[in-house]
């Protein structure tokens, strides 16, 4: 366990599956050198196969006794999907095959292959929602526990889980050990790589790229022990944000506001079945555990309160009037850590989102 924990909350009620986060992450970190197939951030349709395919059934994590469970390492072609490209150059250059536009490999699988399919029968009771996923920067990481070389560490100052690329020898037990399959093998450098929670941005007072680019404003970022942070309020004060599959025993630090409302079902004549909901609560229980009931109850109560009185701190938070309302990073904190550890304390490049307890009024700009 680290001294402090930086956490993210994602409001699933607001995710529109636009993949802007995915692209923000990919262009920043994973579009080159063996990372082409990796999505440190992905948005999958739930229910669905997910990315990598059927990740929830691939093992890893811990049992009730706290013992690391064996897992399976996904196959690049069959489970992740080969990133394919098109013959742009031959088309542009007027080469032999220029009259046909085709991918360089025949795609058989890829992320979001089953996008928007969901479950149920249209139009009676079909349903789905989007599930954006990044590394959970777990308090008890399965990847870290599986590494036989101590090449994975959790930063003391903010709990970000990182791979020590110097120690990593590409054994891939971490991939088997992570129940979320959010750590990937880079075949070009023969090392494992994963979401770094954009720590170079975080340290400069900027939220992770996926969060800052989110057009739906679904992502909150802040320290869990900072009572003024949005994530503290959503996770601890109102207890509406819950970890994904916490039954895996890794204590994930990305929290989700569960989908609260879903439309009613239709009967055979196409009429609304009053009081019915399309999204089975069992599906949410599977993802978020029994706490999902309390979370939804609180959200509904606050919505009602807001309707009646016009006031609700929780809904104001979730509406996120200003994007900067969603992030509370800690400017001088990282500089203090840098100083204590004799690292180079660089000034943050952007001060819009920093208002943590270590951030002095006026800053140093």
């Amino acid at each position: 366990m680290s001294k402090r924990q930086l956490a993210m909350v994602m409001d699933l009620n607001k995710c529109i599956g636009c993949q802007t986060c995915t692209v923000a992450c990919k262009t920043q970190w994973t579009n080159r050198n063996g990372r082409e197939y990796m999505y440190w951030n992905n948005v999958e349709t739930y229910p669905g196969t997910g990315y990598p395919k059927h990740w929830m059934e691939l093992g890893g994590g811990f049992d009730a006794a706290g013992d690391l469970q064996p897992g399976v390492i996904p196959n690049l072609e069959a489970d992740y999907g080969v990133p394919w490209d098109y013959n742009y150059e031959s088309l542009m250059g007027g080469m032999a095959d220029s009259n046909t536009f085709h991918p360089h490999v025949s795609p058989t699988w890829g992320p979001n292959w089953d996008e928007d399919q969901g479950a149920g029968a249209f139009p009676q009771d079909n349903y789905f929602f989007y599930l954006p996923r990044i590394c959970n920067h777990c308090t008890n990481p399965g990847c870290l526990s599986a590494c036989p070389r101590d090449a994975i560490f959790k930063r003391e100052e903010d709990g970000v889980v990182l791979v020590d690329l110097d120690r990593c020898q590409g054994y891939r037990y971490c991939i088997a050990g992570c129940p979320y399959k959010k750590i990937y093998f880079n075949p070009k450098i023969s090392k494992s790589e994963k979401c770094i929670l954009c720590f170079p941005r975080i340290e400069q007072g900027l939220p992770p790229a996926c969060a800052q680019q989110c057009v739906g404003r679904i992502r909150f970022v802040g320290f869990l022990d900072d009572e003024d942070s949005q994530v503290y309020k959503l996770v601890h004060k109102y207890k509406v944000a819950i970890g994904l599959r916490s039954d895996y025993g890794t204590q994930p630090n990305v929290y989700y506001i569960p989908p609260t409302e879903s439309p009613a079902k239709f009967d055979a004549e196409g009429k609304i079945i009053e009081g019915s909901t399309r999204l089975p609560i069992e599906e949410l229980e599977k993802l978020f555990g029994p706490e999902v009931h309390d979370s939804i109850a609180t959200l509904k109560a606050e919505m009602k309160k807001r309707k009646e009185t016009g006031e609700s701190e929780l809904l104001d938070l979730l509406i996120a009037y200003q994007h900067s309302d969603m992030f509370r990073l800690d400017n001088n904190y990282y500089q203090q850590v840098a100083k204590e550890n004799k690292r180079n304390p660089l000034a943050p490049v952007d001060t819009r989102y920093i208002a943590g307890k270590f951030t002095h009024a006026g800053g140093h700009h």
Binding site: N31, R32, D67, P70, P74, L144, R149, I189, S190
Partner: protein, 400 residues
């Protein structure tokens, strides 16, 4: 036995032939240059090959489900090992059968390469037996030279080169400039996966990157098997060889998802440098045979409840409770087994990340030292210990 060996040693060169029967390797002295010697060098015709048995590593079970299934019924395999030396350099050739050639570097997430490694005991002032076979132990360091079978792989991190890490489609280059860029990337491609490490126990292995290890390794595949060579100085910052060089050998089979602990390894093997005085202590330790009665040892093992934590068979305690003993007879010396019974904390196999099985740690850390959670069995009488050691020496897989 020790006495017998010591007296044999006084016979000098003659004894190395006698010891060969015990699995020792005779390093033939040559005057040729041996640095970077290939497996195909004609010099190997002068060498004397000895059969060394490599046992499946089962002390620690890793958490890869498919790999564990693929290796569940692993047997031991024999390798042919020979050594050459000149005044400065020792070269070792290892030949082993492998029906499939698995090469590193495919754009793949779940394939693995064949490989081999040689482990040398590091120079130490600490007295006591040879380092623990699993990458050494506290105060008893080892040096490991690893070679994996490779194809051409571009490894920018190895070159500390970031300017060529950009996807070609994202450069602002076109035409000839882009072709030049591609050529530059290709020219930086590394074709070798050779590493040297120092370690004081499983998980402590650290790569030597400062050039202080002047070793060279290579491997060649032909007719259903690999031939691998390592050449290294007899003396350097890590190893201070005498007339006998203790070496351990490991091979990985990529088709069985072998990497890290999923391998076959030998116990320590003595490489005696012909014409030099063998090191009696090392030769004696490696050649020592168990003196006890294995049948009685089996009973003593049961009476002392060893299988409550250790796997003697796969049906015993879960593998993470303590190191599995299923092949301990294959890759351990008698001295190590005896020491582990009498002084469990002398060598603590670090085993799993302590976080992986937090309720059953193999050791606690007291004053920065690993203290084994195993009961101290130093109260056992000498004969019982010998019997247990004799039984443990029988625990090993058959040769395939």
């Amino acid at each position: 036995m020790n006495k017998v060996i010591t007296s044999l040693l006084s016979l000098g060169v003659a004894c190395s032939a006698a010891l060969a029967a015990n699995g020792a390797i005779s390093a033939v002295k040559v005057s040729d240059k041996l640095d970077g010697i290939s497996a195909e060098s004609p010099l190997w015709a002068k060498a004397k090959y000895t059969t060394v048995t490599l046992y499946p590593q089962t002390a620690v079970h890793m958490n890869d489900k498919k790999a564990n299934e693929a290796n569940a019924a692993d047997k031991a395999k024999n390798a042919q090992v020979a050594a050459l030396y000149n005044g400065k350099t020792l070269a070792i050739n290892v030949k082993w059968a492998d029906g499939t050639k698995d090469v590193q570097g495919a754009y793949s997430s779940d394939t693995y390469s064949d490989g081999f490694a040689l482990q040398f005991a590091g120079a130490t002032k600490k007295s006591g037996p040879l380092p623990y076979i699993g990458m050494g132990s506290d105060g008893r360091p080892v040096v490991v030279h690893l070679q994996k079978a490779t194809a051409s792989v571009y490894e920018p991190n190895g070159n500390k080169d970031v300017s060529t890490q950009i996807n070609r489609n994202q450069t602002n280059l076109f035409g000839k400039d882009l072709a030049d860029y591609d050529a530059k990337v290709a020219s930086l491609a590394k074709t070798d996966y050779e590493r040297s490490f120092v370690g004081e126990g499983f998980r402590s292995l650290t790569e030597i990157k400062d050039g202080s290890s002047a070793s060279a390794a290579a491997m060649v595949y032909s007719s259903n098997g690999w031939s691998g060579t390592v050449s290294r100085p007899l003396k350097d910052a890590y190893v201070n060889s005498t007339g006998t060089v203790p070496v351990a050998i490991a091979v990985w089979d990529g088709s069985k998802m072998g990497r890290n602990g999923l391998k076959n390894l030998s116990s320590w093997v003595a490489v005696n440098l012909e014409g030099m005085k063998p090191d009696a202590k090392i030769v004696g330790e490696i050649a020592e045979e168990a003196k006890g009665d294995a049948a009685k040892g089996k009973e003593a093992l049961a009476a002392n409840g060893c299988a409550g934590c250790h796997q003697v068979t796969a049906a015993d305690a879960p593998s993470f409770m303590a190191p599995s003993l299923q092949n301990v007879g294959g890759y351990s010396t008698v001295a190590y087994l005896r020491e582990s019974i009498l002084k469990p904390s002398a060598v603590v196999v670090p085993g799993y990340n302590r976080n992986a099985h937090s309720n059953t740690p193999w050791y606690t850390i007291e004053k920065g030292k690993r203290v084994s959670t195993m009961t101290d069995y130093s109260f056992l009488d000498k004969n019982t210990v010998n019997d247990i050691v004799a039984y443990l020496k029988t625990l090993k897989a058959e040769v395939e």
